[in-house]
């Protein structure tokens, strides 16, 4: 069983929900990526989503755009991100790691090279924001040959037919984008999201996570009652952005604890 499936099975056994933080590798510095990952796990994160910086992050709001720009100004590349995962794996062989980014850096490296290096580094899943399923066929095949999951997005605008189609293709988990907008946008309508997630779960054979616009423990707790996983992105990136070097790891761990606590008090 893959690390992602093992993690969800373990959580289901204790009726807990997965906490999935997202941050951009290379922000504030490349050397901080592994310590941040370790702090996230120490604070209670179950799966880590690592942002691969891109020059044109069309689906991201200002917070993650800025973090991507900082990482790029530090010269961080996809190859660096893979090296970060390999280094993290020296001390943590259990926590699943998912890469999230845009198609072009992966295409530049080439599918086969990317898949080989990602497997060697210990990557468990990849989410390419601008690969809807129809454009992801060959990519998904390449990744499945090295047992890496392709994670797909679902949106409030996704039709019932498409939910069925995507649910059938899904590996790892499905990621429900909880609002019409970019990452880090305004607060979400918890009841509407809950209804949608319930609808998706009826079709899905893999766990369903919710992200975009989850800014506090209370929202996480409410959504944790219906979803299998909660993704916290912009809020974490803001914490990284506003923390001094000395307090960064403590703040990151503290934020995870806050969400962990809220999630574990769900249901």
């Amino acid at each position: 069983m893959s690390r992602i499936a093992t993690t969800f099975a373990r959580l289901a056994g204790t009726a807990r929900k997965a906490l999935i933080p997202f941050f951009t590798v290379g922000d504030p510095q490349l050397e901080m990526a592994v310590p941040i990952m370790q702090a996230l796990v120490a604070g209670g994160a179950d799966i880590l989503e690592l942002g691969v910086p891109f020059s044109d992050p069309m689906a991201d709001g200002p917070t993650i755009q800025r973090s991507s720009e900082r990482a790029l100004s530090n010269g961080v590349t996809l190859t660096d991100v893979l090296a970060v995962v390999a280094e993290f794996r020296q001390t943590d062989t259990l926590t699943p790691v998912v890469l999230m980014g845009y198609a072009n850096p992966i295409e530049r490296l080439g599918f086969a090279t990317f898949a080989r290096h990602a497997q060697a580094a210990g990557v468990d899943g990849v989410l390419v924001v601008d690969y809807p399923p129809v454009e992801a066929r060959r990519f998904k095949e390449t990744l499945s040959q090295v047992d890496i999951d392709t994670i797909f997005l679902l949106a409030p605008t996704t039709t019932e037919t498409r939910i069925q189609e995507i649910a059938q293709l899904a590996t790892g988990y499905l990621y429900y984008v909880s609002l019409r907008g970019v990452t880090g946008a305004a607060t979400i309508d918890v009841e509407a999201v809950a209804a949608q997630v319930a609808r998706i779960r009826r079709q899905a054979t893999v766990p369903v996570g919710v992200g975009f616009g989850i800014r506090d423990g209370e929202t996480a707790r409410c959504l944790g009652e219906v979803a299998d996983a909660i993704v916290v992105g912009s809020r974490l990136v803001e914490t990284i952005e506003s923390s001094s070097k000395g307090e960064l790891l403590g703040n990151v761990e503290g934020l995870m604890r806050e969400f962990r606590h809220a999630l574990d008090n769900a249901s």
């Binding site: 044109d56 709001g61 755009q65 072009n104 530049r108 949106a155 409030p156 996704t158 019409r180």
Partner: protein, 405 residues
């Protein structure tokens, strides 16, 4: 069509929006439903007689079509070679070819019940053309424009505001056209239910490259009948500048089956291709994925999009429409690059010899014609798409000449 003329078989794109390996629909799931809806509606209206009749009426009475073709005799005489003809898209309402497309998309938006339109703009011509049709149809209009371009094209910014549009300066990335497009996509994702995104070039996720091409193809269709009327034959070469490539696709597309007509797209070489400061995606790029399609892109070794440079804001784009990528690879069209200096020289030549002030974008195509004409015989004919007028470029040209307006 003449029976002895060789015909190039062409039926692009396929049902998934692919031109060979280029095109497609690469976007976040959030936009898939909106794109599917657009695809469906466009399929319906592109063959709807009532829609097409209204479009023809608008193009005639609002835009002023057909635009004339003008024989640039003094320019031809000075160069001493092939005859140079200009397709006068600069004479359209709003001063460029861009309105051919914005009228068509605004008519689609109305039929789809969208009351709000958004657009990205580089030189401001597409922004002005969008603001114009939004005013014409009583729609709310927001235009995204790189803050760098807001400075370069202050007059067009004011024109858009006069027309009732909100102009949003974009501060992210290189602060030019590509970043304006990113921001327009973000707006669209956020307001997808009530908003129609009027893309200004033959790029973006399928069906945009096809739709924008089709609305601009009126340019080439007119040439197909105007040239025989004028000179009894089709031109030997058709030239057009290429940023995203909408005016070029507009004039190329109807000529694709006419195999004897050479098609040449002209990119912006900026300070020169070897300087690294240019915007020539087809001449110097590598295929990749940006803004919803796979196409030639200016990118670094790690797949990051690199900043471009051109004196003309409308060509300052690191990608190009996917159909151009295909026409390049299959050899039906070829692509050249013209530097800022060469474009400026062509700009001044057309001003002084023909009394026509061309847009800096279109000046690139004129410059390529000026390079080729002396190497050809006087019986041969070059047809240049003069895609826009240069009123918007006064400040840029004056500054390059050391003047301050």
């Amino acid at each position: 069509m003449n029976a002895i003329e060789k015909v190039f078989e062409y039926d692009m794109p396929d049902s998934q929006g692919y031109f060979g390996p280029y095109g497609g629909a690469f976007m976040s799931e959030t936009l898939v439903a909106a794109i599917d809806e657009l695809k469906h509606q466009y399929e319906r209206y592109r063959q709807d007689p009532e829609f097409l009749a209204e479009l023809t009426y608008e193009l005639k009475h609002y835009v002023g079509r057909p635009s004339p073709i003008y024989h640039a005799k003094r320019l031809t005489a000075q160069l001493g070679g092939a005859q140079i003809y200009l397709k006068r898209e600069d004479l359209n309402h709003t001063g460029a070819h861009k309105i051919n497309n914005t009228i068509g998309q605004a008519m689609l938006a109305r039929r789809m019940g969208k009351r709000r339109v958004i657009a990205e703009t580089g030189a401001g011509q597409h922004g002005v053309a969008t603001a114009t049709v939004a005013a014409r149809y009583g729609m709310q209009c927001v235009v995204y424009m790189g803050s760098e371009d807001v400075h370069r094209q202050a007059q067009n910014v004011y024109r858009m505001k006069l027309l009732g549009a909100e102009v949003v300066p974009v501060e992210s990335g290189s602060k030019t056209l590509k970043d304006a497009m990113n921001e327009a996509m973000r707006d669209w994702v956020t307001h997808v239910d009530e908003t129609f995104y009027i893309i200004g070039t033959v790029a973006g996720p399928h069906p945009y490259p096809t739709l924008v091409r089709d609305f601009n193809a009126v340019v080439g269709r007119e040439c197909l009948t105007q040239m025989p009327d004028l000179i009894g034959k089709q031109p030997d070469v058709v030239l057009a500048c290429v940023g995203g490539g909408s005016n070029a696709m507009g004039i190329f597309y109807p000529y694709i089956p006419h195999e004897s007509v050479r098609l040449i797209g002209v990119e912006a070489a900026g300070d020169g291709l070897s300087s690294g400061r240019h915007a020539a995606s087809l001449s110097a790029g590598i295929p990749g994925v940006l803004h919803g399609n796979r196409t030639y892109l200016l990118q670094d070794a790690h797949g990051q999009i690199i900043e471009t440079h051109s004196i003309s804001a409308g060509l300052d784009y690191p990608g190009v429409g996917p159909e151009h990528s295909w026409l390049k690879d299959c050899g039906r069209a070829s692509y050249e690059a013209i530097t800022d200096e060469e474009a400026l020289h062509a700009f001044h030549s057309l001003c002084r010899l023909e009394g026509i002030i061309p847009a800096l974008e279109s000046s690139h195509a004129v410059a390529q014609a000026m390079k080729m004409a002396p190497t050809m015989s006087p019986e041969q004919v070059l047809l240049v798409n003069l895609s826009g007028r240069g009123d918007k470029d006064m400040a840029t040209v004056a500054e390059r000449s050391g003047l301050l307006l």
